[in-house]
């Protein structure tokens, strides 16, 4: 029985391997292999690639779209100033479909097909564990904005986190709530979030500050009705509700609260609320005026003005990005990241990731006698003049700690019904609540 089938299996396997070998050999000459390959001194003005490795489909698609435009805007800026040592930068998209198992072949494909891959924007948090080892093998650095605190002590040279870890989020939340005068609050988090990063640090900080949590609830996400839970929360008479919910959960929960109570109790959400899918779901469900009046989000701060920000804004406009994205701190941070890496390449005078990675902290750290630059063009000019630079971009200073995370300060964000976007308010002190 099986001999015939074994032969088939072996034949197919060999055929597959043979065809891929043939493909590899024939396409090798076009310089498609890039990992650890080409150095800056290769002849010709070839294009460098930044791979955008994200889910462009599924429920996390908005992260992908953010990354896509961050990269494009940065590339626009970089190329306007003459590229990286004369080489233009282009962004190539690779869809991981939000599936960590699918992400690995996609990463492999990226490594094979992207010409002169110098950096990767992404991937999503759920894909990092499976993708990072592959990228490390190829020695390509990646830029991400994931919040997972497990990376607070990671040691990979290729992992660069541009926004703060969630472990700083909950204390900032508590700090803000308390200093707004809400001393009796209800905390509501969804059960798919790790308690380590939400409930526990929040309770600790809030308690230390002197506040009381009158009701603590963990709700299941995406259920069809939360009326009982809402009733429980309201029965405890909190001054505000603090927590995190995804867009669908928030839409249902908050609209039911509005129905039951007549209006909303002040709501303070984490940075999840300023992500692209939240407001379109919650706004219509509770009414935009209510969203503007009662909901606040605590998210990383953004430089609201100055050269860096205007350059960023105009770049976003030039690539026809969604205007909402131009005010998103994560988009700004990623844009800054790409520019910082480009400057690192300029400083190291090399496009070989193995070489320039060491210069990334050097172009972002503050130093005595260093020049602060706010745009790529400024940075290139200063480097040419032999100066030490610190790039402070649209999202503010980006100081990487020893574990590759840039812990930035948070700010309070409110929704503007006229401008139809989240507007940043006051910035919280650095390490608020910690």
């Amino acid at each position: 029985m099986t001999l015939r089938r074994h032969r088939w299996l072996a034949a197919c396997g060999l055929a597959a391997a043979a065809s891929i070998t043939a493909a590899g050999c024939s396409s090798n000459s076009s310089g498609s292999a890039s990992a650890g390959g080409s150095t800056g001194s290769s002849g010709g003005t070839y294009t460098l690639t930044a791979g955008v490795l994200h889910a462009f489909t599924g429920q996390n698609a908005f992260f992908g779209l953010n990354a896509q435009n961050s990269c494009k805007a940065a590339a626009e800026e970089i190329n306007k100033a003459g590229g990286i040592m004369g080489h233009p930068l282009t962004c190539s998209d690779f869809d991981t479909k939000g599936d960590p198992a699918d992400a690995v072949p996609v990463t492999n494909r990226m490594l094979v097909s992207a010409s002169h891959l110098v950096m990767v924007v992404g991937p999503d948090g759920s894909d990092i564990p499976s993708v990072l080892p592959v990228l490390e093998q190829a020695k390509v650095p990646e830029l991400n904005t994931v919040g997972d605190p497990r990376y607070d002590t990671q040691t990979s040279q290729d992992f660069w986190r541009l926004t703060p870890s969630d472990s700083t989020q909950a204390p900032a939340l508590a700090y803000y709530a308390y200093h707004q005068g809400f001393t009796k609050i209800a905390e509501v988090f969804t059960s798919d979030l790790s308690a380590q990063t939400t409930t526990t640090p929040f309770q600790n900080t809030f308690g230390k500050l002197g506040g009381t949590i009158v009701k603590s609830l963990t709700i299941s996400p995406d259920v069809s009705s939360y009326q009982t839970e809402v009733a429980q929360v309201l029965a405890a008479h909190p001054q505000a509700i603090v927590g995190e919910m995804d867009s669908q959960t928030a839409a249902t929960f908050l609209s039911e609260m509005r129905q039951l109570h007549g209006s909303l109790v002040p709501v303070i959400m984490t940075q999840r609320a300023i992500q692209g899918d939240w407001e379109p779901a919650v706004g219509p469900a509770i009414g935009v005026p209510t969203l503007a009046k009662d909901v606040t989000a605590i998210a990383p701060a953004l430089q609201a003005s100055g050269t860096a920000f205007t350059t960023f804004s105009s770049a976003m406009t030039a690539i026809k990005a969604n205007p909402f994205q131009a005010k998103n701190p994560f988009v700004a941070a990623t844009y800054d990241g790409v520019i910082a890496l480009a400057l690192a390449m300029d400083m190291a005078k090399s496009v070989d990731p193995g070489t320039f990675v060491a210069d990334i902290p050097k172009v972002t750290a503050s130093s005595a006698g260093g020049t602060v630059v706010n745009t790529y063009a400024e940075g290139v000019a200063a480097l040419k003049a032999g100066k030490t630079i610190q790039y402070v971009g649209a999202a503010g200073a980006m100081i990487f700690n020893q574990y590759g995370t840039a812990n930035r300060p948070y700010a309070q964000w409110g929704y503007s019904s006229d401008a139809h976007k989240w507007i940043m308010g006051a910035t919280l002190p650095v390490n608020a609540g910690l």
Binding site: M1, T2, R5, H6, W8, L9, C12, G13, A16, A17, I20, T21, A23, G24, C25, N28, A33, S34, A35, G37, F56, T57, G58, A61, G64, D93, D95, K97, G98, D99, P100, A101, D102, V104, P105, V106, N108, R109, L111, V112, G125, S126, P129, S130, P133, V134, Q137, A138, D148, R150, T153, T190, S191, D192, L193, S194, A195, Q196, S220, P221
Partner: protein, 605 residues
Amino acid sequence: MSPAIQSYAATLLVYLGVNAIACWGLNLQFGIGGVMNFAFILYQAMGAYITAVLTLPAATTQADQRYILGLHLPWPLPLAGAAVSGAALALAVGSFALRPRRRDFQATVMLVVSIIAATLVTTEQGWFNGNQGLFGIPQPFAGTLSLGITGYDWFFVAVTLGLALLTLAFTGLLTSAPWARRLRAMRENAEAAESLGVHVRAESLKVYVTGGAIAAVSGGLLVEFIGAWSPAAWGTGETFIFFVAIIIGGLGNNFGAFFGAFLVLGVFLELPTYLPQLSDANVEESLQSAAIGVLILAFLWWRPQGIFPERKRNLSRAIPAGARAVAVAEAAGTVPDSRNEQPRQREPDSHAAAAGTLSVRDLSRGFGGVQAVDGLSFDLAPGQVTGLIGPNGAGKSTALKLIAGAIAPSSGKVLVDGVNVAGWPAHKVARLGVIRTFQHTSEFGRLTVLENLLTAAPGQPGDSFGGALLGRRHARARQQELLARAWALLADFQLTAAADSYAGQLSGGQRRLVEIMRALMAQPRILLLDEPMAGVNPALRLVIEEHLQRLRDGGLTMLMVEHELGSVERVCDSVIVMAQGRVLATGTMAELRRNEEVLSAYLAG
């Protein structure tokens, strides 16, 4: 070839291997056993999870990985653990999901389980670490072998190939055993299989558990390759991709399953990424998924058996040509001449064991407000043919079903050789030698005629899961015996030419004969015939009648429900008339024809 390309190639091959193993598991469950496992992805995820947990070394600083046992078991123990966990989960789910008799009902329940599990996994932090999953899972032998990165990738490909071949050999062993025949029979017609002694629920559970273990191993292998486990990788929709793969590739055919894995999971999902993007990524993805839906419909319409259909098993080749010829000659020498009344040359049909006795006492069963059978009592004369007639709605078929155990009575007794079998499941009653034929032909369509017959024979080594594992040689001797017996039957009924034809492709009359022969292969003590003459042409009717008479002469007790009163008169030694769920009268046809009550019942009903 650059390392990046090698890495890519190796990744694709590993994924192909993993998917092939998964497809073989699903093929066993669905292609062979007919169990529609809509929770398939759950088992793959379970295996992956357990493999991760068993492989991870003790947690150091990561507080959220507190579920880690820190066992850091050496390979291949984590995979063995995965197999066990997949089997255990399948056992738990199967215990309730396989309770309904209808397979689409079972499938729906499994789908619900899959959805609920997906939710629980992301919300039960303590066990699964929510959306974040497990990471940093060390690859097998990674530390000990010094092969370099690319070298290790190819090593893993070799490991995958090894496991794939092992799985293929294992499933091949199972699918060539008599056990697989029972599974296929179950797939074709569960009710008929049950009536021949196959414990459908138990066998379904066994095939479910086995498939679950295989799926778990495939998941474990994948996780060992990518080093991370996340709930997002095991969405409910993934199950259907596997179903599409085996439906397109070919149900019931291991090569088809492999091909389906290659085509659907390899080509269809990887190739479009090379095509230029026409529009928004979300739209493209939705188009792709909608296209898969259309593809399923297209295949189910035009080629439901897939590109590589299940291979036919031509068992007649196992019977020596000489023996075949002898049997045909013997039967030919005694073809009945319907015009002369000479007694038969051959022995009375010795298919039956000693005549069984059947008594029914106050048997009752209602549906809604209607009493189909209402206090039915009679005794069957052993070794005789008793007819059961009556107007429509009298409850005759229901009575047969109650006796055979297909329906449970609400009260009353059914005594088979003194044992009260009322309420016993059909397969248990069948084991006592009570075999029922069906009103609508119930042959196993995609099994050959010989296989149909062989399924019915009880006590074949190799017709259980354990027996199957012992290999074909173990079952060969008995199989030869049975084939000889089956061939003799076919010769008797003059159907040897159809021995290796699929039963579903025969004419209506031939299928009826197959059903009868099949019942006889089960060596019944009591044969319950439910309208055997229905839809049968007059010539064939006489043939069947003749066979029934010979069986009676051989000592087989028979109860025949029939509307063809001519047949009843010719064949039956005595007749019971039922009306309104109970016995109205008994006697010979001649007596009953004179009975006033009987006549009026027929006119009224």
